[in-house]
């Protein structure tokens, strides 16, 4: 069964790149271009996605705000969230992890295939500690 993935990413080039990679990896990909749209989509999705890949810097609602709202929603709070960003500050990483993200990935540091592999690992039941850090 295909892994149901919600990718919330405002940059069209990156969105398209990951979409291709995830399709190649046989994921069931849903796309959203900003935080608000992503939140609406995840609430509307049935069944819910197995994992959410969430950019940080986005219009309308940034990734951190989306993460907060996801964790406040009883129906959504258990969906693992991977933060995907090119913001590489220590504070950004710590903030995201403290809010409940399972991983913070700096996009430029990883090739799309590596990210697809991480998604597989996490969905397969890997805990955060088992996954190599950023």
């Amino acid at each position: 069964m295909a892994i149901k993935v919600l990718l919330i990413e405002d940059d069209q080039l990156i969105q398209r790149m990951y979409e291709k990679m995830f399709q190649f990896a046989k994921f069931d990909v849903t796309l959203a271009s900003d935080g608000a749209e992503g939140l609406d989509k995840v609430r509307a999705m049935d069944p819910k996605p197995a994992i959410i890949l969430l950019d940080v810097m986005m219009p309308k609602m940034n990734g951190m705000e989306v993460l907060d709202k996801l964790k406040l929603d009883a129906e959504l709070r258990n969906i693992p969230v991977i933060m995907l960003s090119n913001l590489a500050g220590e504070n950004d990483v710590e903030t995201a992890l403290s809010k409940g993200a399972v991983k913070y990935i700096i996009k430029s540091e990883h090739e799309p295939k590596e990210i697809a592999d991480m998604v597989k690992q996490i969905v397969a039941g890997y805990t955060r500690d088992d996954i190599p850090t950023v």
């Binding site: 990679m21 590489a88 220590e90 295939k113």
Partner: protein, 632 residues
């Protein structure tokens, strides 16, 4: 002196008057004594006349004699005391009683009763009582004689004798009393006058003595007074001299006072000017200035403080605000950002300054610096001086600088991510569809360049953060052997690719070091990576040892080595092993690696240096980390 003469004459006259009075007294007493003896003969004669025919005439004579003797004795005793009436009565009673004793044995009881009655009459009724008693006795006798004469009852002869005796005695007593009373009156008067005169004389004598004493005393007093007067004159003269001196001194003092007042005036003016200058300088500060004083005195502060801390509404009039009041106001505005009240208390208690930077104050950021005020030569703290700086702009600038780097890095990374990702996907997903040769190589070059560019961006970001000291270090006790081994795993691949021997010789008994493990791994990767990069053949050896509270790690290579002239520039920014900026080495590095490494090591409390280097033979880079926790 005139008064004394008058007094003496008066005394002399009084004494002349007193002398004849005393003679009269003596004569009166003599006359009285004689008449007393004469009078005492009357009972004797009377008793004899009454009884010369009876058989008792001898007894009567004897009684008369006895009575006369009593009278004489009593009158003689009068010289001492004046109890005339009493003596008369006693005489009468004694005569009567003696007669009764002689004429009738029956009347013997009256011998005891009558004197008692007579004495009681005198005591109770005084001299008048004595007279009255004599009259009563006489009256009773007369009544009894009359009653007997007219036959109402028969008196015996003896009884008649008694009655007659009583009558006679009473009458004589009365007469004697009157006579003697008169004599005594004269005598008393004379004696009284004489006595008074004596008393007066005595008093005058005493007065004269006293006057004499007084005169002596007055004389002495006069002499003393004269002496005192002389002294007073001298004293007056001295006082006059002193007054003269005093006037002179006063004039001098006045002049000096005027001088002092002038000096005080000048000094006051200078102080006022100085205070005004000081006040103006404080007021001209664009930073907040606050001086709190002990005992909650009025605080001193400048307008900049009020403006900076937005206290305009809270401190109306900007004056007469107590020290504690303004500190509390600031604390209220600070909220939980900073405990300025507590910090000030500690500062005063410990007599040490404190500073707090980048404190959130509403929408502003402030730096606070405070120092206790201790007067020179004293130990007590009299207050605190507090300087408050507005760092909002600097903070915003810093933040924008940091944000600029972050955003710039983010914006650079995003397209690089796309380039790298797509290039990677071309080779990994569609690699079998690509023709071998140039196209594949070109795609690989695109991917490698993007990776390199991403590395450069990361180094710029790291450099910026380290320079701004915004990099967060998680310093804790760390096993350096484990850290080095972990970092070396990734490097082993690179070494193997170049057929270099990567050797690690770390003693097992090394103490732990206080460091951030992740950053230390970055340092090891950088130094060992450089060693691999600049070594064509041979080995890279990592060793470690303890030296004076540090664990030193040596990374020795058999590489190209470094020229002496380049050694001092080695840890500079963008510095490579070549000396000319236009001349690049073939490592394709940015020249930021060692610079970043140095910043990391130093910000963790360690040090890094080139221990030795020989061109063509190799180099030894050393970094050291502390074995004890140190304050950074």
């Amino acid at each position: 002196m005139t008064n004394d003469v008058v007094k003496d004459d008066h005394l002399r006259q009084n004494v002349d008057f007193i002398q004849p009075t005393i003679d009269l007294q003596a004569r009166a007493r003599e006359t009285f004594l004689k008449s007393g003896i004469k009078l005492s003969l009357f009972p004797l004669v009377l008793f004899f006349i009454l009884d010369y025919r009876s058989q008792y005439y001898l007894a009567a004579l004897a009684d008369g004699l006895i009575t006369s003797v009593f009278i004489a004795v009593l009158i003689a005793s009068y010289r001492v005391k004046n109890y005339t009436g009493l003596y008369n009565i006693v005489i009468g009673v004694m005569v009567t009683s003696m007669s009764m004793r002689l004429y009738t044995p029956v009347a013997s009881r009256s011998v005891f009763i009558m004197p008692v009655i007579a004495l009681a009459a005198y005591l109770l009724l005084s001299r008048v009582g004595g007279v009255a008693w004599s009259i009563v006795m006489c009256g009773i006798a007369f009544v009894e004689v009359m009653l007997s004469k007219y036959g109402f009852f028969q008196m015996s002869t003896n009884y008649q004798s008694v009655i007659y005796g009583i009558m006679g005695t009473a009458m004589l007593s009365a007469l004697l009393f009157v006579y003697e009373g008169m004599s005594l009156s004269v005598e008393n008067q004379a004696l009284g006058k004489a006595g008074e005169l004596v008393v007066v004389n005595r008093r005058l004598d005493q007065q004269a003595n006293r006057n004499s004493h007084v005169s002596e005393e007055l004389k002495l007093a006069l002499e003393e007074s004269q002496a005192s007067n002389k002294k007073l004159v001298d004293t007056k003269r001295a006082i006059m001299n002193i007054l003269e001196d005093s006037k002179s001194l006063q004039a001098q003092l006045k002049a000096e006072k005027a001088g002092v007042e002038k000096i005080v005036e000048v000094r006051t003016e200078e102080l006022f000017r100085e205070q005004t200058r000081l006040r103006a300088s404080i007021n001209s500060l664009d930073s907040g200035y606050l001086m709190t004083l002990e005992n909650d005195q009025t605080a001193i502060f400048n307008p900049a403080l009020i403006e900076l801390l937005d206290l305009g509404d809270s401190v109306p009039g900007l004056k007469n605000v107590k020290s504690s009041e303004i500190v509390k106001l600031i604390q209220t505005k600070l909220g939980d950002s900073f405990d300025i009240v507590g910090a000030l208390k500690d500062s005063i208690k410990n007599k040490s300054p404190f500073s707090a930077v980048n404190i959130a104050y509403g929408k502003k950021f402030i730096n606070i610096f405070a120092s206790p005020i201790i007067l020179k030569g004293e130990e007590d703290v009299i207050g605190s001086v507090i300087m408050i700086y507005d760092t909002t702009e600097a903070m915003l600038l810093e933040r924008s600088k940091d944000e600029f780097i972050s955003i710039a890095s983010h914006e650079l990374r995003t397209p690089l991510t796309v380039i790298r990702g797509n290039a990677s996907m071309l080779t990994s997903i569609y690699g079998d569809q690509l023709p071998e040769g140039d196209i594949k190589d070109m795609i690989t070059d695109i991917k490698d360049s993007s990776i390199r560019l991403i590395g450069i961006v990361n180094q710029f970001l790291s450099t910026s953060r380290l320079e701004q000291k915004r990099t967060i270090f998680d310093i804790k006790p760390t096993d350096i052997a484990t850290t080095i081994s972990s970092a070396a795993k990734a490097l082993k691949v690179l070494a193997d690719e170049k057929k270099l021997d990567l050797k690690i010789h770390i003693p097992k008994d090394l103490p732990q070091v206080y460091t951030d493990e992740s950053r230390t791994q970055e340092v090891v990767v950088n130094i060992v990576g450089n060693a691999i990069k600049y070594t064509k053949k041979g080995s890279i050896t990592i060793t470690a040892h303890v030296i004076k509270g540090f664990v030193e790690v040596d990374v020795a290579d058999t590489g190209i080595g470094i020229d002496n002239e380049n050694i001092k520039l080695l840890f500079n920014k963008f510095q490579q092993s070549t000396s000319n900026i236009l001349t690049r080495d073939d490592s394709q590095s940015t020249g930021l690696g060692l610079y970043i490494t140095k910043l990391i090591i130093e910000q963790m409390g360690g040090r890094i240096y080139l221990k030795e280097s020989t061109p063509g033979k190799g180099s030894v880079f050393t970094f050291a980390l502390p074995t004890e926790k140190i304050k950074l």
